[in-house]
Symmetry: C2
Subunit: 191 residues, 2 copies
DNA sequence: ACAGTCACTCATCGCATGTTGAGCGAAGTG
DNA sequence: CACTTCGCTCAACATGCGATGAGTGACTGT
């Protein structure tokens, strides 16, 4: 009668509550960031004792690490399309349905050192991918500006929740951003 | 022999230490954000007792409020130039020498509710100023995207401190961003 | 059915933080 | 010089946090 009073193997039950805790953690980290999210709050949301969270993840930092770690398959998906299409894809991924994992990460990137590292690493990855496809000079700088630009839009839309951006249609945003990105990348795929 | 062992009037002396505390607070808030900045740390940096900080500002929240409040003259400067020039001006202001006040505000905007409100308010102000000058349809949306874009670059450069952006010359960045902004605003001042 | 395992809870600790009030000593005032 | 004012410090409190370790009861395999 603890929670899942079904015939579920013990190991699987444990794995499920672990996932439930992780989901609660992701949600709260995404809402309030690292510092303002307490283990107690995560436990409450997961309908579990705070101590259990510790038993599962060892420490708050480790919980956070697990919460913001993208499944590395999720990270590397998205093939080798044309540049701007790729960028709009990033925009789409980041805007259409940004994963709770990403939001948790982004929310804390300005205040939690490791989150910042993680974001910088992700940026570097995208940057390399993009800059290789830019023919113009200053390819790296252009790529960095491009990524930052997209980051800004994502922040405005999902973290700050600026009304105008939140209400706007994803496709319309992508449409408006396209020439902007083309300009930054040296217009590889002009309309 | 406390600190300024000169013939300084008492009121002025108090005002000076208040300013010293405020400066320390701004620096720390800009470095670490609201939650990770402790009153004790501010006091230490200002070479002052923690209790004195309370006596001056009443609470940590009030200290933060004072630390992130732009002097309202500083906010409204920058005349009515042509649109893209204005934007590049914002870029310049935000990039060349971003004030500690702004950095303190920006650093906490994702985790501190009031900081978020403040940023959104500032964004709305800029948004109105910009959208009025855009002739294309979706003026508001375009303006919001423009502001978010600049926000992203500022974050990447000064908060995340992405290497490529930090090392880049301000003018070069402005130069690269110009066509991008023109595209977003409907190219009002084409080269 | 019995013993052991294991997911989970309870009570509690240590610590850092924001905040407070009493007190000190130098600057100001008559 | 007496007396007050006031900028400032010291010691302490209350709270909420992450973290710990002993305990409990249900599930498991034999």
């Amino acid at each position: 009668m603890t929670r899942n009073s079904q015939t579920v193997p013990r190991s699987q039950r444990r794995a499920r509550t672990a996932e439930r805790i992780l989901a609660a953690a992701r949600a709260l980290f995404a809402e309030s960031g690292y510092d303002r999210t307490t283990i107690r709050a995560v436990a409450t949301r997961a309908e579990v004792d705070p101590a259990l969270v510790m038993q599962h993840f060892g420490s708050k930092d480790e919980l956070f690490r697990r919460a913001i770690t993208v499944s590395s398959q999720e990270a590397d998906e998205g093939g080798q399309e044309k540049l701007v299409e790729l960028l709009l894809g990033i925009l789409g991924v980041k805007m259409g349905e940004v994963s709770g994992t990403s939001l948790a990460l982004l929310r804390s990137m300005l205040t939690h050192p490791e989150a910042a590292e993680q974001v910088k690493a992700a940026n570097t990855r995208q940057l390399n991918q993009i800059s290789g496809a830019i023919e113009a000079e200053d390819a790296e700088l252009r790529a960095a500006l491009t990524v930052s630009t997209l980051l800004g839009v994502t922040i405005g839309r999902h973290l700050l929740e600026l009304d105008v951006l939140r209400e706007a249609d994803t496709e319309r945003i992508a449409e408006l951003m396209k020439p902007c990105l083309e300009a930054l990348t040296g217009r590889p795929a002009q309309s």
